[in-house]
Amino acid sequence: MTKKVKSLAEQALFASAIFILFLLLFESKIVVPTWMQPVGRMHPLFLHFPIVILLLAMAMEMFRFNSSYATNEFYRGFLSNLLLVGVLSAAVTVVMGLFLSKEEGYSGDMLQWHKWSGVSLFYLSCLIYWSRNQAWYQATVAKSGAILAVFFLIGAGHYGAVLTHGDNFITGPITNTNAEPVALDQALVYDHVIQPIFQQKCISCHNPDKLKGELNLADVDAILKGGKSGKLFKAGLPDQSLLLQRIHLPAEEKKHMPPTGKTQLTSDEITLLALWVKSKPDFKKKVVDLPPTDSLRRIAAVLFKPAEQTEEVYDFDAADEETVKKLNNDYRTVAYLAKESPALAVNLYNRSIYSVEKLQELSEIKQQVVSLNLNKMPVKDADLKTVAQFENLQKLDLNFTDISGQGLKELAGLKHLNSLTLSGTKVTYADLQKQIGDFKSLKTVSLWETKLTIPEIQQLQKANKNIAFIAGFKDDGKDPITLNPPQVKNSSMIFDKPVALQLNHPIKGVQIRFTTDGTEPDSIHSPVFNNQTILTDMTTIKARAFKDGWFGSSLATFDFYKSTYKPDSVALLLPLNRVHQAEGAKSLFDHKLGTFNANSPAWANNWTGVRNNDMVLMAEYKKPVTVSSVALRIMVEEATGIFPPGSVEIWGGDSRDKLKLLSTVKPKMPVKGETHELKNVTCTFKPQTVTYLKIVAKPCTLPEWHGGKGKPGLVLVDEMFIN
């Protein structure tokens, strides 16, 4: 730095010292013009220069008198210049800061601390600069002066930071996570939902120290008071409340809150504030006092851990892990209720292996067992004495055990027992009426499928209001339901020799009535099925099930097919459709019927099919047989173009080459809109002894009314019956 520049700078420094003094003395009288405000606002930007420069300069000043540096020309010159620049920048910063503090929103203790520590730093630095070449300014003075300056520097910096970022800005992330999370059932709407939003997003500017807009969001009274522009909210009217208006202003608007650059509110937070204002702000209300459907409660609920988990605390110690392991076996499970819980749950399985010893063996863990499941075990009344050893038992399952009510008194001493299931046992009203009062903590008792009648259970309920008695479902016969239809048990619906009809119904005591003539069976006249019916021919069985107290079942129809002569070998002379191959020719005689099901594509379902050529099947018998009928089981579905064959021809004879036409049948064609069906096309003819049979099914031409008119119909056949 040339001498000239330096002296200019020194004069500027002197002038600024005077100017600052003036500003400080007449602070209250000064008004900063608008055009000067940007200068003030550059304070937070500019302040970093004096911090760094002065820090470095003060450090160098401390060691200035070290013998090695004291004589170093560069060190001396550099330090002197550095100090000057530092002090000057401090002067500028102070001026800016004083301007800024005149803007609205800056007041309070923190500002005063910041201001005076900053000003002190400035004047101290000036003093050091001007007196550092005096004779009395020696090492000790230099060191203490530098340390003091650094002290002010840190102070000013710290208080300034608190002004801008708020208290706890640095430690916030750590201290916040350590804060005990509040349980939902204890949370207050204001303290734990609303205030945290203010705390995180607003309070750094709207606090008692930095009253931006004269608004303080730190305490309830101040919030109710509002700020410069008026009250913060109109209770119940979020739309007209300043708080939400400011939040909802477009981000580029000057008055939008929080200001651009600061962390913005999330949409959930905005909704919460709006709902809070709408709900007429209350500072004492608990979150759980709001109705469960309340939106505020719903959104807020996720902020909290759930209503204090009723994780039970047990006053006994955990059993030895080895013991627990040892007591576990294939038919007895001893399990910890949860990790780190001393409580154990015991389940017993397998009736045939149960004995009371299985319970006696548990004496080592008698304190720890809180739940015992003896469901369906042959537990006797006497065994309950052993059960009573589990002093901390809370839940006992005795469903379908062999106890009678008399043994229950053994259990009355279980102080913690709250759930007892007795469904399917022999307990009686008298037993329970006498003893149930002795069970002090009992909350539920299940009594379904016991001797107790509904009025008796109601009686018990009346006498013991703190216990819930579960009666369960008992059929009173007032609401009969419909039986399901009978089922057929024959292994196949196709037979070659006479066969006994096997009908069945899963419900005991059901009467099955059936007909063979195609009429619908009724509950009075139709024959009752008695396992004596022999089927000799193609028969359609129609059956229904009946039982007292039930509505009769719907109709079940079973088609039985007779197929006397199964060919010894079969071959198709023309190909099948690519997708209707089934198992080829042999699937026509495999006694497996295809079913009609929209979800089972025909080609995966026993159906062989042709469309573009005839289906021609050659059947051969090793010994000649006398036949008089051939039937084809076909599928018809007008909508998808599955039609009966236009004609079926049966040819027969002694040799492959000399066959004569035995019968031609033209099946009835469906009409438009007919639903799908499975039916037989039967060709009958004079009894004829044959070795070879040729069966020809010719696809029809789809009729005029059909969507595919003129094209051949699809022929699907799943089985053929030769008799």
Binding site: Q309, E312, T333, N350, L420, I481
Partner: protein, 484 residues
């Protein structure tokens, strides 16, 4: 020597110490930047899971999931939308439809006319929940149910949606919910598999179910779902070969165990002991399974309650009854699938039949568990993989219409197991197309189910191929509002 000592001293001088320290601190800081939990309290490994013991005391011990495969139409069952009837035939506003992706079946449909339910709704119980006339039995137990009308999913086709609901991922190869529970909770009854599967099929248009849905994924194979079928052999390969009696079987197993033990001594392969355990379990199942499958001892009231079909193996009613028996016997997770809910067309006819198939038995199961005092500890879930559209698929005629897949909202119900009874949670908009209130994502639902069983869904993890996997993948929040 002196030199070496000096050098050693240099190696540990202050400067070196500091530079090393800074490197160490730097990498630690970097590490914690990239893995936020590195030094946090939420380190899963730290709290880790002891497989087989819940994280905290569970509300429910077992789950029965009545899966309605094919996606039942909420508009005809639980989600009452009178507005849809008013607007019959009108186009769904594009603002409502938004950018929702459509399936290939309706993507090219020229118009999307709204259609209301063909069936009426009424309010029932103290909760005044709306239930359609198709569900008269379910209507009677609404006060035991928590009906969630605001479920939503991410997939629009059956397989991915089903896989997503069951495994938390659309792609499969992950463990099913039942497998996770088996892994997390362990066996209650060592004589039955922890996770069983029962299939049934209604008359309606159906969609397949495949064994990948009850796969153990990367978990141990003992957590795989075991399918119980309707035939003579409910569990395949469990029966002794012909001519072998139980004693011979026992002897065989004993001898085999000895041989296996020798092999184990020699090779130390843990799979050998695992195999022995599985043989033993199968042996125990030989007596336990027939006992469970035997329905002949069920009292008449039970048959009336579930309906007569409960005695016809392979029906939904029979599977419900069986589910109760399995659950009662300590099976942690009983998964039912009832097929036939995919009503793209012919909806009024098909859904009525479907509803009839499941209504009585579903309600009966809840009642039955309740009367045995088991409903508190058994969580029953009823629902499909997604919902159906408010507009018709295909032609809208006077008495017929269909509905396409709709992932944005669907209805399920839960009962028991510490879920709030008599509650209707969530709302859809008045056209039943978007969720208006309290959406529940599939992962939220899964997190809630795990929570009821004492498992923290963020801690029920399994490390596989270098990654920690969860049922809820990387999201999911427990729906606290529906917890009792």
């Amino acid at each position: 020597m002196e030199k070496e000592i000096l050098e050693h001293g240099f190696n540990f001088n202050r400067r070196r110490f500091l530079s090393r320290l800074s490197l160490g601190l730097g990498s630690a800081a970097l590490g914690s930047l990239m893995i936020p939990d590195l030094f946090g309290k939420n380190n899963a490994d730290e709290e880790g899971l002891t497989p087989g013991i819940p994280h905290f005391a569970p509300k429910a011990k077992r789950v029965i999931y009545l899966f309605q495969n094919g996606a039942p139409s909420q508009q005809e069952l639980f989600d009452y939308k009178p507005k849809l009837r008013e607007l019959l035939g009108q186009e769904i506003p594009p603002s409502v439809r938004g950018t929702q992706r459509l399936t290939g079946m309706t993507a090219n449909q020229a118009s999307f006319p709204l259609v209301g339910s063909f069936v009426d709704f009424k309010q029932y119980g103290q909760s005044r929940a709306w239930v359609s006339d198709l569900f008269p039995h379910t209507a009677k137990i609404v006060d035991d149910l928590c009906i969630i009308k605001s479920m939503y999913t991410e997939a629009i086709n059956h397989d991915p949606a089903l896989t997503f609901l069951q495994t938390g991922s659309q792609q499969g190869n992950r463990p099913s919910m039942g497998s996770w529970l088996s892994y997390g909770l362990g066996n209650e009854n060592k004589n039955l598999p922890n996770f069983t599967v029962l299939l049934s099929r209604g008359i309606g248009n159906g969609q397949g179910v495949y064994s990948k849905l009850w796969s153990n994924g990367f978990l141990d194979s003992i957590h795989q779902g075991v399918q119980f079928s309707k035939g003579e052999d409910p569990v395949l390969y469990l029966r002794d070969p012909e001519g072998m009696d139980r004693h011979a079987r026992r002897d065989m197993l004993d001898n085999l165990a000895e041989l296996n033990d020798l092999a184990y001594q020699e090779f130390g392969d843990p799979e050998i002991t695992a195999k022995v355990k599985q043989y033993e379990m199968a042996y125990r199942m030989q007596t336990a399974v027939p006992e469970v499958m035997d329905l002949s001892k069920e009292p008449d009231d039970i048959i009336k309650l579930y309906g007569p079909d409960c005695l016809v193996p392979g029906t939904f009613a029979a599977n419900c009854l069986l589910a109760r028996k399995l659950s009662e016997n300590g099976v942690r997770f009983v998964q039912l699938y009832h097929q036939g809910w995919d009503q793209h067309g012919n909806l009024p006819f098909e859904i009525a039949r479907q509803a009839k198939d499941v209504d009585q038995a579903s309600a009966a199961l809840v009642t039955d568990l309740k009367q045995r005092g088991l409903l508190d500890e058994t969580l029953v879930i009823w629902g499909g993989e997604f919902g159906r559209t408010s507009y018709t698929q295909g032609k809208l005629t006077a008495d017929n219409y269909g509905r396409d897949h709709h992932p944005r909202c669907f209805t399920i119900w839960m009962a028991g197991g510490g879920i709030k009874p008599g509650m209707v949670y969530g709302e859809t908009d008045e056209l039943g197309y978007n969720i208006a209130q309290n959406p529940v994502h599939v992962h939220d639902f899964q997190a809630t189910v795990l929570h009821q069983l004492g498992l923290n869904h963020e801690k029920l993890i399994f490390k596989h191929l270098g990654r920690r996997y969860r049922l809820t993948d990387v999201s999911g929040k427990v729906v606290r509002d529906i917890l009792a």
